[in-house]
């Protein structure tokens, strides 16, 4: 068979594997949406219907969301699937899944075109395959997260930046993409500048030859930053960093930075233990499969030996700068913030596999081992994600809120008070699933926050959607009104239910069988009779 055709078919095979694990049951596993996905989905819906986000802001530079801000590109891109599919779970995840496919494709191109060895096509395929099957990549490509699109834009920018060292015209495209990446996710704001600077320093003689192109490229990059400069002093631009950094917490900064930085290179965090936050990890599975530690070691050894090659130096540069944004924050091993590092490590692992396979003489053994590894990896991912994660972590995507919405629809004549103490997104979630008119949302809920959109992080904490009031339960008054109180077992305990004469109406469980929400109807008459406190509401009964 023609060599090029063979490579093309194999590439299609890799993309097919990547596609199956990214798109299969995308709308139903995980069985719900994360808080940020809810915000992105409803904002995209609002943009389509009104041209404004849920607070009524026209084309925001950065989206206000539950006391923080979301980088804008993901939400703007989500308007496309939302336009065709409506504001569904599938629609908000598609951009992330497609971004994953883009990363797999560009990984192939980067290794194929720039790596030092012969038979680059095969190594390119192997690198693309490792990215395609790596747990971190599949897991986060199935969540509507800005970091996925950030990585896709960044890696494509990296590719064109590398190409610009051969043909200078690509420098404009590279700066355009790296500039856009700063609007895609927080880490890229720092990484894009560092990568651009680092690569220019490594290839300074080349760029000196094409000063005109170089300066035009820099102007393109600077122009794309203008919207961010416009909000630089408002507080919105640095809000996230203020929330997550340790600079103002009285810890020894150098030691803290060094410990956070090295944690991202720790085999314990990379191969053995999942991310501490349950919503960002699978049970019993880290960002890479355990077996990958062996090729990781071989790949690293190989790279060190080839350290004089310019592309290898670029990989080391990326490896060096990639953990910096994450190391500035307090969270230990925050996977979302180090996608670029995990991408480089995926290449190191693929290189290690390639080195190991080279040592095996017989071709049949080589392919048998490779196929066995792929099947074993994908099977263990299936077990950990489609079985364990689905059941054990369904509370992280608020599975029970889907059933709550059905109850709200069925009991339209009842009044509800829904506690938001532990799910601040519950109101927007209801608005999203019921396709609540964004114009009404903007007018009734969003308006007070519009004037200080970029300068204040206040957000909606007491509001009404259809027959439901979304707010913390007010025990002084709520129990004297005829309504249904909804909350998790911490919001409404059994003692409180007994004391306030509440009657259990429904219990909602997550997929693991744990009760996550309870609805109680109040009994104002009984409560008035039993209580020493004479509520004004008792008089009207």
């Amino acid at each position: 068979m023609n060599m090029k055709l063979r490579i093309l078919l194999l590439l299609i095979g890799v993309l097919l594997i990547a596609g199956i694990f990214r798109f299969w049951k995308l709308g139903s596993v995980p069985p719900g949406l994360h808080l940020d996905e809810v915000s992105e989905d409803y904002n995209a819906y609002s943009l389509i219907k009104t041209g404004k986000d849920r607070y009524g802001m026209t084309m925001p530079i950065i989206f206000k969301s539950y006391g923080s801000y979301q980088p804008p590109i993901y939400t703007y891109l989500t308007t496309i699937p939302v336009l065709f599919l409506g504001p569904t779970a599938l629609a908000v995840k598609i951009v992330s899944a497609v971004s994953g496919m883009v990363v797999v494709f560009f990984t192939f191109l980067i290794i194929k075109e720039f790596f030092v060895i012969r038979k680059n096509d095969e190594l390119g395929l192997l690198a693309a395959l490792v990215v395609a099957i790596s747990p971190w990549a599949i897991f986060f490509n199935r969540i509507g997260t800005e970091a996925s699109v950030g990585l896709a834009i960044f890696i494509s920018g990296f590719y064109f930046l590398l190409r610009s060292t051969v043909k200078i015209g690509y420098f404009l495209l590279a700066t355009l993409l790296l500039g856009l990446a700063t609007h895609a996710y927080y880490s890229e704001r720092i990484l894009s500048i560092f990568l651009l600077g680092g690569l220019v320093i490594v290839n300074w003689r080349w760029y000196l030859k094409y000063k005109k192109w170089f300066f035009i490229g820099l102007i393109v990059f600077a122009l794309i930053q203008l919207p961010q400069l416009a909000i630089f002093k408002s507080g919105a631009f640095t809000r996230r960093l203020d929330q997550v950094t340790y600079f103002n917490r009285g810890v020894p900064i150098i030691r803290e930075f060094a410990s956070q930085y090295t944690e991202y290179f720790s085999p314990r965090s990379l191969f053995f233990e999942p991310d501490d936050q349950t919503s960002r990890s699978m049970p019993d599975m880290s960002v890479f499969y355990k077996w990958m530690i062996v090729p990781f070691f071989f790949g690293f050894t190989y790279l060190i030996k080839k350290h004089k090659d310019k592309f290898v130096q670029c990989l080391f540069l990326l490896m060096f700068i990639a953990p910096i944004p994450a190391a500035l924050t307090t969270d230990p091993f925050y996977t979302l913030r180090v996608f670029e590092l995990l991408w480089v490590f995926s290449i190191v692992i693929s290189l290690g596999i390639w080195v190991i396979l080279l040592k095996i003489k017989q071709r049949i053994f080589k392919y048998a081992i490779l196929i066995a590894i792929i099947i074993f990896s994908l099977f263990s991912f299936y077990v950990n994600y489609f079985v364990l994660y689905k059941y054990e972590r369904s509370d992280t995507v608020r599975f029970s809120s889907l059933e709550l919405i059905n109850i709200l629809k069925e009991r339209q004549n009842d009044k509800f008070v829904i506690d938001l103490s532990r799910d601040i997104s519950i109101g927007v979630r209801i608005a999203l699933y019921t396709r609540y008119n964004p114009l009404l949302f903007q007018k009734e809920i969003g308006k007070p926050f519009l004037d200080m959109y970029y300068s204040s992080v206040d957000y909606e904490k007491e509001y009404k959607i259809n027959n439901a009031e979304i707010r913390p339960i007010n025990w002084k008054d709520d129990v004297y009104k005829d309504q249904i109180l909804v909350g998790d077992p911490l919001a409404i305990s059994q003692n409180q239910a007994d004391e306030h004469k509440l009657k259990l109406v429904f219990e909602l469980k997550d997929l693991s069988g744990e009760i996550t929400l309870r609805g109680y109807s109040t009994n104002p008459r009984k409560k008035c009779v039993s209580s020493n406190y004479q509520s004004p509401y008792c008089k009207s009964l």
């Binding site: 410990s259 090295t262 944690e263 501490d276 690293f300 969270d331 230990p332 079985v387 054990e392």
Partner: protein, 182 residues
């Protein structure tokens, strides 16, 4: 123990293969006898509950692939022990355990402390690069063997994974040599 570890470090730094492994065998046996992690063979009631729940999830999610002798045996009799062993293995592989008192992923119920000064970490990195680019396999074999032995030891004991200290000393030595050579 201290003297033994110092001697081991010396043998490893100067590439004395036979004394290294003899001393490692002695110290390893001593540690295995005195600080063996009995939790490796014990499944707590909480874990049993988790396994029972998982039995249900696997049955629903995997069907016949799980509901057979092998699948059930793996869930009840293999996975809990392998999982505990790999956890122990992972603790010892974390560089932050040695240089940052396991910060920022400290373990509950265990007193964590710095085993080496954190400012020596850059030297360690240089040493590691030097080791990986050289043909010196003794420290690597030593590391692999010690890692395996240490995974059987109780991860919370006061001294920590002491058998791995000579390896770190050797890598630091290689780092110093590399820096001064340049």
């Amino acid at each position: 123990m201290g003297l033994g570890l110092m001697s081991l470090s010396f043998f490893l730094v100067f590439n004395f293969k036979i004394p290294t492994f003899i001393l490692l065998a002695v110290l390893g046996s001593f540690l295995l006898k005195n600080t063996f992690d009995t939790n490796l063979l014990y499944v707590s009631p909480l874990e049993k509950d988790k396994i029972a729940h998982r039995h249900e999830y696997y049955s629903q999610g995997l069907g016949r692939v799980y509901k057979n002798r092998i699948g059930i045996y793996l869930n009840y009799s293999v996975t809990p022990y392998i999982s505990r062993f790999s956890k122990n293995l992972a603790y010892n592989l974390d560089s932050n355990l040695y240089f940052f008192a396991n910060h920022p992923r400290e373990r509950g119920g265990i007193i964590e402390f710095d085993k080496f000064f954190y400012i020596s970490l850059p030297i360690f990195v240089f040493g590691l690069i030097s080791l990986l680019s050289s043909a010196n396999v003794l420290p690597i074999i030593y590391f692999a063997v010690c890692l395996f032995i240490t995974a059987f030891l109780f991860p919370g004991y006061d001294l920590g994974p002491v058998l791995l200290f000579p390896f770190i000393v050797t890598v630091l030595y290689l780092g110093v040599i590399r820096i001064f050579d340049k």
